[in-house]
Every structure is written in C-alpha cells, then in structure tokens.
Amino acid sequence: MRFLDRLFQRREPTSRQVAKDRLQLVLVHDRINISPGMLDTMKDEMIKVISKYVEIDPDGVEVTFSQSKRQSRLTADIPVVGPVRHAKKGSERARAARSQAEAGGDG
C-alpha cells in the first residue's frame, strides 16, 4: 500500500519537514511573546475596529505572523463583503457615513 501511496504522491511528510514546520510555528510565538490566545483577542479587537469603517466577514479573517530573517511580519487577511464606506477625512466622515447608512439603509 505504501508503494501505491508513493506512486500517487500521497506521501506522508518526512519527520524532518514536520520538525521544521513545528519549529517555525513555535518560534513565531516565542519571538514576539504572544500566545495563540492573545492573538485571538487581538484579532477580535481588530475586527471591531475595522468594522467601524468597512463591512467585513469576521469568520473569514486570518491573522498570521511570518518571518523573514529575524524580522517578524504581521499579516491580516480580511475579506470585505459590503461596499466600502468612504472615510477619506477621518473618523467624523466615517461616523456620518455610517449613521447615514443606518438611517437610509442604502449601504
């Protein structure tokens, strides 16, 4: 069976690859000193803030840390579902746009 698995590329990852993947993941958290739980809290707060300006799909939000050399990078992938409410001139405009949308219901 393993012969067939290999033939059809259903190869299990090697223990070397597993070790490397696990290390890279654990070091991301070690280096920035943020636990997975704290990352979730941060994600929830980001969703709250961004939702003030843009309608997003909270279930589709992905927040990840990546590494390049020893530099950590925070990447947030946030799917926008609704039309973007223009917030060109700061939060006042955004608030106005939101209340307008709530009143008019054409957003």
Binding site: M1, F3, S15, A19, K20, L23, V26, D30, R70
Partner: protein, 264 residues
C-alpha cells in the same frame, strides 16, 4: 592588543558546549595560539575532565574572584600543549558566587596574557549565562539538529542580540549526515534558515568524541577523525582563515530515492 574573549553557550544543556569549548581551545593551541579555557559552570564543572586536567586543580575561578589566590596560581597548564591553560569552576559553590561585573574584570585582567580566552557557559538563561556572556567579544551558540535544542538556541540568539553582543555565530553539533539524507533529521540549511544567523561550523556525529572524552584527550588533538577535522576548521575560521564549511552531503542521491521508493 589582547585576547579575543569567545563565549560558548546554548540555552539547552547537553548539546556539547563543553566539548566544543575544549576542542576549539585545543585546536587553536595547536595552531600556535596562546589559549585559556574558563569554566563558568560553577557547581557543575566539567571542562576539567573533558580536557583531562581534573587531577591538577588547586584553586578555581571563585578563589580568584574572592581574592584567595593570585590569578597565576589558579591557571592550570595543559600537559600536552604548553600554550593551553584552564581556569576551572568551583565545584562546591553556585552561580551567584560570581557576578557579570566580576567576570568582565577578570577577563580584562586575562586579555594581555592570551590570544584567545574561551568562556564555557552553563546551560540556561539565568545568572550563569549572564556571567559567561558579559565579557564576550564573540558569542558562539551551539545547537544540535533537534527541535528542543534549536528552540532554545533561538532564545539565546535573541538574548545575545538584545545585550548588544550579537550577531552570534552558530555551531551545529552532532549532525548525522545519513539521517539527514533519509530526511529524518533537520539539515544544516534548515537550522540556519530557522535561526537566521551566520554558521561558523558543523560537527558531524562521531563516536570518536565519546572515546576521546573517556580518555580526557579532546578529539581535535587527532585531526584524522571527522569531528576533529571539523573543530580544527572552526578554529581556523576564528583566526580569520577562509575555510569553507565542511561539505556534508545532504540531498538524497538518485539511488537512495529509488531504493526507498521500492522499499515503501
């Protein structure tokens, strides 16, 4: 000009700090350098037995720091190499017997006498580690290709950097080329990629290390063993020689892949 103080550390215990320290000290002495190896693992000293000098200890590091003897009285001259010396750790005290400032002062006193002063650090990131790193001009981080050792090495890389002692150089110890070839061990490239610091050498796993340590004759005294040669190469690099990293074959050969494919 004075000695270069090289601290050998790792975070995790048992990865070979003391073996690396002893062998680099021997290899540099063989290259004609005047070398001192200092054991800062107070309470758990071992550099003396690895160097085979355990029967000659009269005074130790703590005796010097506390003024019970003069520096010269505590230095043990190696029985094989006249340019190699050991300053042993105290065995009956603990890490708090010495502080980082005292280590800096001690090394300042030693610098004019030597070309290299090696400081063997204890495991951990507490006071013993801070004592060892405080006087360092260069820091060598020893790791093995295992998840626990690499993770701890990463902590040390960060700590050394934050103390302004970086960038540290990496030594990968006990690499087993056959296991790497079978994809059963992290490769040199993997470890370097993960830790993102410069590599100064790779020591292959070698039974000769255990045999030579049994006898108290560091393996680098004999340049014929693979590990002895690797240590000598690192010593050359520490002296600024341009020696390429030992080619340890890591990619699986076609024949190897084929045989694994059919074995299943």
């Amino acid at each position: 000009m004075g000695a270069t103080v090289v601290t050998v550390t790792s975070g995790k215990g048992g990865v070979g700090k003391t073996t690396v320290t002893a062998n680099l000290a021997v290899a540099l002495a063989l290259l004609g350098q005047r070398v001192l190896a200092v054991d800062t693992d107070i309470g758990l000293r071992n550099l003396d037995v690895v160097l085979g000098l355990e029967n000659r200890i009269v005074y130790d590091l703590v005796d010097v720091v506390e003024g019970r003897c003069r520096m010269r009285q505590a230095l043990i001259r190696d029985k094989r190499l006249s340019e190699l010396f050991l300053l042993p750790a105290a065995q009956t005290r603990d890490k708090s017997a010495v502080n980082p400032e005292q280590m800096v002062k001690l090394c300042a006193q030693l610098r004019p006498e030597f070309d290299f002063v090696f400081v063997d650090s204890p495991a951990g990131i507490e006071q013993g580690y801070r004592n060892a790193v405080a006087p360092a001009d260069k820091v060598l981080i020893v790791t093995t290709p295992e998840v626990s050792a690499v993770r701890d090495a990463d902590r040390i890389v960060g700590l050394v950097e934050s103390e302004g002692k970086g960038p540290a150089k990496l030594i990968i110890n006990r690499l087993n080329p056959a296991m790497v070839r079978r994809e059963e061990m992290l490769s040199t490239v993997d470890v370097v990629e993960i830790l993102a610091i410069d590599l100064i050498g790779v020591i292959p796993e070698d039974p000769a290390v255990i045999v030579s340590t049994n006898r108290g004759n560091p393996v680098s005294l004999d340049g014929r063993s693979p590990s002895g040669q690797a240590f000598r190469n690192i010593a050359g690099r520490l002296m600024g020689q341009d020696i390429p990293i030992m080619p340890i074959k890591e990619s699986a050969s076609m024949l190897d892949r084929l045989s694994r494919f059919f074995r299943g």
